[in-house]
């Protein structure tokens, strides 16, 4: 990336309209996803040399300076955010020990497994979602173990993580766990029941409390013996990193809320198929929801899921965002805005669906100061479309990340 930007600076005076020129996006309908979420007609976004947005507004207010490369589109939005994915870990081929890095079943609780150590940015599915307009993903260890590992947040143009801080928005975003049978050990391994799952989690978190207490007592200059597991969970108990709990059944959701109350960590509910039975409780706990894909399959723990869940969470005033989730077979990844689109058919207002994979997703993930809306100073990530971005027949016609055009494929 560095070499590219340097090249851009060097070439700029010579050939101002080259691929490395600064980009201006001009859209018949521009969705900045700010304020009342209404689009601007014939809106313009100027992308700065530093990869950040310079200006946003109607053409009269934002003239395009000479030398900018103008990308025109019917519709432009902030680059989409997939608020919970496994792309880059759960690869296209679905071959164990080859490209399936999303779940390690050797122990039930392994929060020390880092997403940054498991990510393959060159997996074809990363390109697939990028070319459809997704610029940021919250990805990492999948549901399927009591505590499967860490997640992270990064842009879809990152091919390899050589510097965890620079190459990601959050190298350690959340710890991912699962309640209910989907999180059981299997093959006689613990946990084998719901009660055992909670007992194991509580026991582990009490240990972490002890660890945190010990760390606080250290004299100046003293350092604690590193413990990957306890250190990772200390981040959770200290409120720096949320615990993401995948729970589909109402009693598993209730158990997650109970655990949150006991230990006071930041909880993010995931999947939450039966959340419609506990709207008041979830709202009262101030817990946001990563709603299951609208097209998730309604079997097993999800047999009572409804396509109206996003609409109901919205009506109840519970913050939520859309996700592609995890798929064990086909399609190996879902596409987050396809899931959002169907929620509109089942009662969610259109602009709220768009927010659920842009601005609201960014807020839920704690990255709204960087991405998710089109405002001066934020990172210049945009997706361009030849129609309503949520309609199946619409194509994504261009993708910009950090002010650089990363795709002009018509997808």
């Amino acid at each position: 990336m560095k070499a590219t930007s340097l090249l851009a600076v060097l070439l700029l005076p010579l050939c101002p309209a080259s691929a490395h020129a600064q980009v201006a996006v001009q859209a018949e309908m521009l969705y900045p996803m700010t304020g009342d979420l209404r689009p601007i007609e014939n809106g313009v976004v100027l992308c700065g040399k530093n990869g950040r947005i310079e200006k946003v507004g109607p053409p009269g207010e934002v003239p395009i300076p000479e030398g900018y490369r103008i990308l025109k589109a019917k519709v432009a939005t902030p680059g989409f955010i997939d608020a919970h994915a496994t792309v880059g870990l759960s690869g296209i081929l679905n071959i164990d020990r080859q490209d399936q890095e999303q779940l390690e079943k050797s122990a039930p609780i392994q929060p020390e497994l880092r997403a940054i150590d498991a990510y393959n940015g060159r997996d074809p599915l990363v390109k697939w979602v990028r070319e459809l307009g997704i610029t940021t993903v919250h990805t990492g260890h999948a549901p399927g173990a009591l505590m499967a590992g860490q997640t992270m947040i990064l842009k879809t143009n990152v091919t390899a993580i050589t510097n965890a801080e620079k190459d990601t928005l959050r190298p350690f975003a959340m710890v991912a766990g699962t309640l209910g049978p989907d999180g059981f050990g299997g093959g006689g391994k613990s946990p084998g029941s719901r009660a055992k799952s909670l007992a194991m989690l509580r026991e582990q978190l009490f240990k972490v409390q002890g660890h945190v207490r010990k760390r606080k007592k250290l004299e100046e200059g003293e350092t604690a013996e590193p413990d990957l597991r306890l250190d990772a969970l200390a981040e959770v108990l200290e409120g720096k990193v949320p615990l993401l709990i995948t729970a589909q059944r109402h009693h598993d959701i209730a158990a997650a809320l109970r655990l949150q109350k006991e230990f006071g960590f930041r909880l993010v509910l995931d999947g939450a198929s039966e959340a419609y039975l506990l709207l008041e409780e979830i709202k009262k706990a101030g817990v946001p929801v990563l709603v299951h894909p609208t097209m998730a399959r309604p079997y097993g723990e999800r047999e009572n899921m409804t396509f109206t869940l996003a609409a109901r969470l919205h009506a109840a005033g519970i913050p939520f965002a859309f996700q592609s989730g995890y798929e064990g077979y086909v399609p190996k990844t879902r596409v987050v805005h396809f899931e959002a689109a169907l929620a509109v058919a089942y009662g969610l207002p259109h602009e709220i669906a768009l927010a659920g994979c842009t601005s609201a997703a960014a807020r839920l993930l704690g990255i709204a100061d960087r991405v998710g809306s089109l405002q001066p100073g934020l990172e210049a990530d945009l997706a361009l479309f030849d129609g309503d971005p949520l309609e199946t027949v619409t194509h994504c016609t261009g993708v910009v990340i950090n002010g650089v055009v990363v795709s002009e494929e018509v997808k």
């Binding site: 599915l125 079997y299 009572n304």
Partner: protein, 437 residues
């Protein structure tokens, strides 16, 4: 690609009905319903603004513009202004109803009928109706080279498989046969093949055996061979009475199916056909049809790595008869219309994409004379939509099979199947009394 003659047959029926009406002296035309004011998409004829669909009993009596279709006195008139009328959807490949085929005992089991396994009260049937599907080909899986006889079903409101079955002329239940090649059917144990070469050899050996059986049967005489269920089914395949529905993904596996078809002369529909775009010329030349699937991303297994959305467009360019399928539960039946949207997104024409969820599938199941379009004389299999079939925001409001409403979004119980919610995974009649949302 469709034989246009097939579509003329129902016209004769229309004329017959018209003549009967003109004949006078007929009793009040009870059992007549006129759906008036909808935008009608007949699929095999131009779209009609402000149309009339006249249904008599199980059958479409007339389709046309308001004013041009005479609505007989006594007909019930239903106003559908602002709605869209579309043929019932046809899914050529579905696994609803907990359908099963052969077991693990051998890779080729033609004697097994899936109709003996299907639970027609399962919630997946209700969900398929909510998805607008009026006819489906229920198939066993792809873990065998040949896993059983498939069942063509109309999604009538019935209690038994007999109530739902599509019938052959002799009254027997209609269906094809499910075959597969490539990775899924290569298991390397329990008599299953370990390679592609062995897979083809096992299939060829069975068909050669069936050819001998057929010759013996044809000879007749005093000493006919013992009844052999497997051979009987394969003879039906050889005689073109039973269509082969062949799971296949990779380009070389597709070509293998075409080679076997050439050797044994069976009628075949290629299913999934992930790499159709690589061998589209060969598929077109072989004159076979394709039932393809649209997935939101490629991969999930090596064979589907190169699956491309452009398959539909590439097949259309070459005139290949192309239908879509849900492969439910791979794609839930309630999202079937989305396939047409993805096809159009990737270069297929609107017309061919709409045919691919209706008439093309009916053609592949030899039922195009009965269903698959809104055509006078055909069965009244249709859905009522609140918008264009290609829009993601469009909802299916009603599904009608043979003139009878089998799904109504206004009915709370049906709404549960359509949208999900507490109890949506349960069968209708077992717990239908006590759902709360």
């Amino acid at each position: 690609m469709f034989s246009s003659l097939r579509y003329l047959a129902p016209l004769a029926t229309l004329v017959a009905i018209a003549v009967a009406s003109l004949g006078g002296g007929q009793e009040t035309p009870s059992g007549l319903t006129a759906y008036v004011g909808a935008h009608i998409i007949p699929v095999t004829a131009p779209e009609i603004e402000d149309g009339v669909l006249l249904v008599k009993g199980e059958t479409i009596a007339a389709v046309g513009k308001r004013g041009e279709v005479v609505i007989p006195e006594g007909a019930e008139v239903i106003d559908l202004k602002g709605k869209v009328l579309f043929p019932g959807l046809v899914c050529t490949h579905s696994h609803i109803g907990k359908v099963q085929g052969g077991d693990g005992s051998s890779p080729i089991q033609p004697g097994v009928r899936v109709l003996d396994s299907i639970d027609v009260l399962d919630s997946t049937f209700e969900k398929a109706r909510a998805g607008g599907i009026t006819m489906a080909n229920l198939m066993s899986g792809s873990g065998h080279l040949l896993s059983g006889q498939t069942a063509y079903l109309k999604l009538r409101d019935g209690k038994t498989i007999e109530d739902l079955a599509v019938r052959n002329e002799d009254g027997s239940m209609a269906g094809g046969i499910k075959m597969a090649n490539g990775t899924n059917s290569i298991r390397g144990s329990g008599g299953s093949p370990g390679t592609r070469g062995k897979s083809a050899a096992l299939v060829r050996a069975q068909f050669i055996k069936a050819q001998r059986y057929r010759e013996k049967m044809a000879k007749g005489g005093d000493d006919p061979p013992e009844r052999d269920l497997a051979m009987e089914a394969l003879v039906e395949v050889l005689e073109g009475k039973r269509v082969v529905h062949h799971h296949t993904h990779r380009h070389d596996d597709i070509i293998t199916v075409l080679r076997l078809k050439k050797e044994f002369g069976f009628k075949v529909v290629l299913h999934h056909v992930s790499e159709a775009w690589k061998v589209a010329d060969e598929i077109a030349e072989a004159g076979v049809s394709c039932s393809i699937i649209y997935l939101d991303s490629p991969g999930g297994k090596l064979e589907a790595r190169d699956l491309e959305w452009k398959n539909g467009a590439e097949l259309e360019k070459r005139g290949v008869l192309t239908a879509f399928h849900t492969d439910d539960p791979i794609n839930d039946s309630r999202w079937f219309l989305r396939s047409a949207g993805l096809a159009v997104r990737s270069g297929m024409s609107r017309q061919k994409a709409l045919e691919a969820v209706t008439i093309a599938g009916a053609e592949m199941m030899d039922q195009a004379g009965q269903t698959g379009s809104l055509t006078a004389g055909k069965k009244a299999d249709f859905i009522v939509l609140n918008g264009d079939p290609l829009s993601i925001y469009t909802r299916i409001l009603e599904t009608h099979v043979e003139g009878k409403k089998v799904f109504d979004l206004d009915n709370p119980e049906d709404k549960l199947w359509a949208e999900g919610g507490f109890g949506a995974g349960h069968r209708r009649r077992v717990s239908g009394c006590c759902f709360t949302k």
